[in-house]
């Protein structure tokens, strides 16, 4: 989640409330070591392995027809999932942040559900609903519609897993802004849509942007849920993470890491956007008031 305050520099502290330099140094070293082992090293391994056999091999691994198909499917899936969850997220945030109503906290909890549910279970629910053995399986096969083990199932599972992200980013931002500017707009004669597009949206644009970016990263990288509904039809229902798994299990380590590096780039880009957004927000909150 976006935390505006996090960009703030640690304040200089008085002698009385600071640790001795030795203690401070030790704490910093331990923290950095932990970060190095668990965060920096895995990232280095991904890129190191991906380029282990040179740039030419890297490019060739990505240009494989199966890999290109996986990239294409990932892009389409992410686009669909992000669009659906964007519309939902904006409306849900508007409902929850701007109004008090019966069942509001239940709704907030329900939106959080996918965070707590195992991705494997998230995929399974769609197999049980739309699969050959599923509740709607008979009807679907009678009408020759394939959802599970086909791209629609992958989109559905991805939508399920990435469902809360836009809403979760927007709700706190909208709540923090309060209703005054909207009230001012309405007293000045603006309609509901004018108020939303001209006042609310510009105010939450940074939070919305990060919501979209993190939703996209998670959509492109989703593994557990997608692997349940995909059925691994090569060149047809494999996304990038699934292609990584296939290559890795087939001992094509370098190619697997080449595909993985695409997603690692995406992750880094996501973190960069997050930092930019936080920087913007902290600047705005410093300017305002």
């Amino acid at each position: 989640m976006i935390e505006q305050a996090l960009r703030a520099e640690p304040a200089r502290r008085s002698e009385a409330t600071d640790e001795r330099p030795v203690v401070r140094g030790a704490l910093i070293v331990v923290a950095l070591l932990f970060v190095a082992v668990f965060l920096v090293l895995p990232l280095l391994v991904v890129f190191g392995q991906a380029f282990a056999k040179g740039v030419v091999f890297y490019a060739r691994a990505i240009e494989e027809p199966d890999s290109l198909a996986a990239i294409r499917l990932t892009l389409v899936t992410a686009f669909a999932a992000v669009s659906l969850n964007l519309v939902f997220g904006v409306l849900a945030a508007w409902t929850i942040a701007k109004f008090r109503f019966f069942g509001r906290s239940v709704l907030v909890t329900v939106i959080d559900l996918p965070f707590a549910i195992s991705p494997v279970v998230s995929g399974l629910v769609f197999v049980l609903l739309f699969g050959a053995q599923g509740w709607l399986g008979g009807w679907l096969s009678a009408h020759d519609i394939r959802i599970v083990f086909a791209p629609p199932g992958i989109v559905l599972a991805t939508v399920f897993v990435t469902f809360p992200f836009v809403a979760r980013e927007l709700i706190p931002v909208m709540q923090a802004l309060g209703n005054e500017e909207e009230e001012a707009a309405i007293v000045l004669g603006a309609s509901g849509l004018q108020t939303f597009f001209r006042v609310t949206l510009p105010n939450v644009k940074w939070g919305l942007m990060y919501g979209i970016v993190i939703c996209n990263a998670r959509a492109m990288g989703e593994f557990g849920a997608v692997s349940v509904v995909s059925g691994h039809v090569r060149g047809l229902t494999d996304t990038i993470p699934l292609q990584v798994e296939i290559l890795y299990n087939g001992y094509s380590f370098t190619a697997a890491f080449a595909m993985a590096s695409l997603l690692a780039f995406l992750a880094i880009a996501t973190l960069v956007v997050k930092s930019l957004v936080e920087w913007r927000l902290s600047r705005e909150s410093k300017d305002g008031n």
Binding site: E180, E181, A185, G189, A190, D287, G288
Partner: protein, 345 residues
């Protein structure tokens, strides 16, 4: 435009913000809603604006029932306590907002809007700020922009919520006079909320004093100050000294008077002497003197009861008497007031 508020009540959960409040805002007047926080004054203002809906009661705007009218159709200008300026818009865009969202309905072109807004900004001498963003303005400038934005749509009433609340003392004074002047120039019906009695008494034509969701008194500043309806109004409008019942002057007891009524007097209505002047004179000892500016403030301790009294004298008068800290003297309260005792300070 006149506004009639009739028997309006409003609750928030278990908290009763307004109880059966009725009030008439006269066309063209500048009315202050004055009261401590939690007295319901802001709620009343927001109900008039249509930002809150009353649980019961009705609103009459210029003879027409406006209770169910939507906020955007009420033709009311509202100035929010924290201004609620659109942060992502320049001063110009903020002021133009109301006109531009109603552009089609009003049949205005963009150029006409630009000209109108430009004229208005020039009128209030803020045209040089047109391209600034709210974050680049001082508090006083933001307040002015908020007011000009509300005026741009030519409302029939302007409502201001604690318009000077967030400003420092010097800017407050300037802005008060600016608003009073603006009001006199354009003769708009205006209602403002404040918790500062000086502000209400200085700026408003009439003052409505509110407490715990009810109206205590309505009147001109002189009326409410000189003839307070009850103890709450009296104590809210200025500092007060209490004379306990048995020491109150004989014969002046109110009708409920079994001799135990408390009497009140303002610090500037206490006269100080070296010698006893009358039967009613009260012996005191001066315990503290603060002589800053033209007024000298004294803290006096009653020799008989030990109660503390506050007195205000002009510097000249204090020099004449010349009582220093620790010296004894006498006070005579002028203008003692009695209230029925169902109020407590």
């Amino acid at each position: 435009m006149g506004i009639d508020v009739r028997a309006v009540s409003k609750r928030f959960g278990g908290f009763s913000a307004l109880e059966d409040v009725s009030l008439e805002v006269r066309s063209g007047e500048l009315l202050a809603l004055l009261g401590p926080s939690g007295s319901g004054k802001t709620t009343l203002l927001r109900i008039i604006a249509g930002l809150e809906v009353a649980d019961s009661g009705s609103l009459i705007f210029h003879g027409e029932d406006a209770t169910a009218r939507r906020a955007r159709d009420r033709e009311v200008g509202f100035v929010f306590q924290h201004y609620a300026l659109f942060k992502h818009m320049t001063v110009f865009e903020n002021v133009a907002f109301g006109l531009s969202v109603k552009r089609r309905r009003l049949g205005l072109t963009r150029a006409e809007i630009a000209r109108k807004v430009g004229d208005l900004l020039k009128l209030v001498q803020m045209d040089w700020l047109a391209d600034r963003y709210p974050s680049q303005l001082s508090g006083g400038q933001r307040q002015r922009v908020a007011l000009v934005r509300a005026l741009a749509v030519e409302p029939k009433v302007v409502l201001l919520d604690e318009p000077f609340g967030a400003l420092d003392a010097k800017v407050r004074g300037e802005l008060r006079r600016w608003i009073r002047r603006l009001h006199d120039e354009i003769h708009l019906t205006s209602v403002f909320v404040t918790h500062d009695q000086d502000e209400a008494l200085e700026v408003a034509d009439r003052v409505v004093i509110m407490n715990q969701g009810k109206i205590e008194q309505i009147g001109t500043p002189e009326e409410v100050y000189d003839r307070p309806a009850n103890l709450f109004v009296y104590t809210f409008l200025g500092n007060v000294n209490l004379f306990r019942g048995r020491h109150a002057r004989e014969g002046v007891h109110p009708e409920n008077g079994g001799g135990e009524a408390d009497a009140y007097v303002r610090p500037h209505e206490i006269e100080l002497f070296r010698e006893r002047r009358s039967e009613q004179s009260v012996p005191i000892v001066v315990s503290h003197v603060r002589a800053i500016g033209p007024i000298v403030r004294l803290e006096l301790k009653r020799a008989d009861t030990g109660d503390l009294l506050e007195a205000e004298l002009t510097k000249e008068r204090y020099r004449e008497i010349g009582l220093a800290v620790g010296e004894a003297g006498f006070v005579d309260p002028r203008n003692l007031r009695f209230f029925e005792s169902d109020y407590s300070i």
